[in-house]
Symmetry: C2
Subunit: 334 residues, 2 copies
């Protein structure tokens, strides 16, 4: 956020004017899913009216490789709570007579994906807009070292929908991930208990034009439909959703960004979609009819969200130059 | 344990002798699965030699209903640990590109039972000895209020192998229970993480003639066989197993117990099998060729293992009388 402010200030101090009108919007709720943002934006449409938004949240492809973002995935979240007996009971005294809630839970959860990792929730993919061959070609052009990616994760092999590349699976395909599961005894050794409860947390990453509320309802109703009557199953929608977002590679803002980035890095940007969610993009598009251009200079090795997160001083300086150039470039693209 | 000691002492003080030779064996490892007991018993066969064993660990059917125990289930335990990425990662940045270890875990676990609760591990039931029609008839005669049992557990309905009654499923049928499951975020709210690891703990209750080591191997090899190569799956046998145990209703010790209990309660005992495991029974049978007669006076409402566990003073007095009568009754049954 500091980078664009300093850049605009520097440009104004140097030239005595700015090539475009600039409004700054400070969004402090991104990490908790911006729960009150939509209400604020709809209540202040005139104050916030603009032609496009530049977002400082995001990253480039590498120290020498710029990217042009054409989309971000959305998000929705839910929780499953299963109750069996009203208390934990002894697996010897009672085991075999009633349904263990962990058993009910793993049956329900295992039915949510097929063997190849495709989501098996009825209607889950119905609203997924097809991505043009042109965009898939552009996305494929981005250099991606699959082996380095796999080694970086430390997994034996990559995995997911076979008809999409790993980058496509992250960028243009929705997911359903179980983020947490718990029930019964998790300490060291053995405890012969049948727990009273078991639970799981799920989030879905969504792509245009999936709707967070609709997907929560589809997942929830499939779970309710398949739930055994021998246990009590509760499905709860959790706050923190976000709309999926896309913006054309030839949007005036992206054309301006491409021009600036190519000059700044000496190489044209790769077109990319990112898997993470920034709720503000979907909210500005829906309520202000303004597309968000990602113009941001983080790098993937900067341990985002970790205790040792950092940002390169070089990226700080490059970002300031970039924002000055961008403010001058935008008027040339209408 | 105190009850039989006081009873033998009282009988000896009163009559100057005991009708049978008595050895006391103090087993302090029952709650941790008696890991060193077999080694101790095999190393002291002569010291421990006996015609039968009376066990003070166990319960009667109710304040006015004695039972005659003809079997206890055995136990074996294992743990599944699944590793995906080498660290927790962001579900937006990486979701869709590799296999979430929780997904791999629920797939493996859900394959261990069929829809009706039967264990679906290859060979799991191979060694299960058939129970005679005569014993099933005797077991069925025990009064069992299914509705009270279900209400006591607080479950919407009972559940399990449809060709066996709930009491049979607890007594004469083996189980595979997931005692604990864990992975990822289990706190309040949402965390969009793909966890590095997920794990589950399993115990099986075994019936004659299943062998704990054999069952662990069968479960482990099925899990290994079905494990996805996109994650690392480790299966570990956990200590604390126990052999399943049975003793005939007309074993001399059970005949003596039936006679004493009928006189003491004014009603003949029901024949019962119990689902819990007491490893000492199988160990004494295997290494000393001595059957264990359950002669014990706990009741099911005494909150065994709970902080407010208790034992009725009346059961204490009844038990002392019972042990005196038992020591006099045993010689009459050879």
């Amino acid at each position: 956020m500091l980078v664009p402010i300093l850049a605009a200030e520097a440009l104004y101090q140097t030239t005595g004017t700015l090539p475009v009108n600039v409004k700054f919007f400070f969004e402090g709720q991104e990490e908790i899913g911006s729960p009150q943002l939509a209400e604020f934006v709809t209540g202040h449409r005139e104050l916030l009216a603009c032609d496009m938004v530049l977002a400082a949240d995001g990253s480039q492809g590498g120290e020498n490789q710029p990217i042009l973002l054409t989309g971000r995935r959305g998000l929705c979240a839910l929780q499953i709570d299963i109750q069996g007996a009203e208390r934990d009971v002894h697996s010897g005294t009672y085991g075999g007579s009633f349904l263990n809630p962990i058993h009910a839970l793993v049956q329900l959860l295992s039915s949510l994906h097929d063997e190849q990792g495709k989501v098996r929730v009825e209607g889950f993919y119905d609203a997924v807009a097809s991505v043009s061959q042109e965009e898939r070609r552009m996305l494929a052009e981005a250099s991606f070292d699959e082996d380095a990616f796999r080694t970086g994760l430390g997994v034996p092999r990559l995995f997911g929908e076979p008809s999409f590349t790993p980058m496509e699976r992250i960028g243009i395909r929705p997911t359903l991930e179980i983020n947490g599961i718990g029930g019964g005894f998790q300490g060291e050794g053995v405890k012969t208990v049948i727990p009273a409860t078991a639970h799981a947390k799920i989030t879905c990453r969504l792509v245009p034009d999936q709707d967070p509320d609709d997907i929560v309802e589809k997942v929830a109703s499939q779970i309710r439909k398949n739930a055994s009557e021998a246990v009590t199953v509760r499905v709860t929608s959790l706050p923190g959703g976000g709309l999926p977002y896309r913006v054309a590679a030839d949007h005036p803002g992206n054309r301006a960004a491409a021009s600036v980035l190519a000059r700044l890095y000496g190489t044209p940007p790769n077109v990319a979609r990112m898997g993470g969610t920034i709720p503000v993009c979907g909210i500005f598009l829906r309520h202000l009819n303004a597309s968000t251009i990602h113009f941001s200079f983080g790098l993937s090795d900067e341990n985002i969200h970790a205790p040792d997160e950092f940002f390169r001083l070089e990226s700080f300086r490059r970002g300031q130059r970039a924002y000055c150039m961008m403010l001058e470039e935008i008027p040339r693209h209408g």
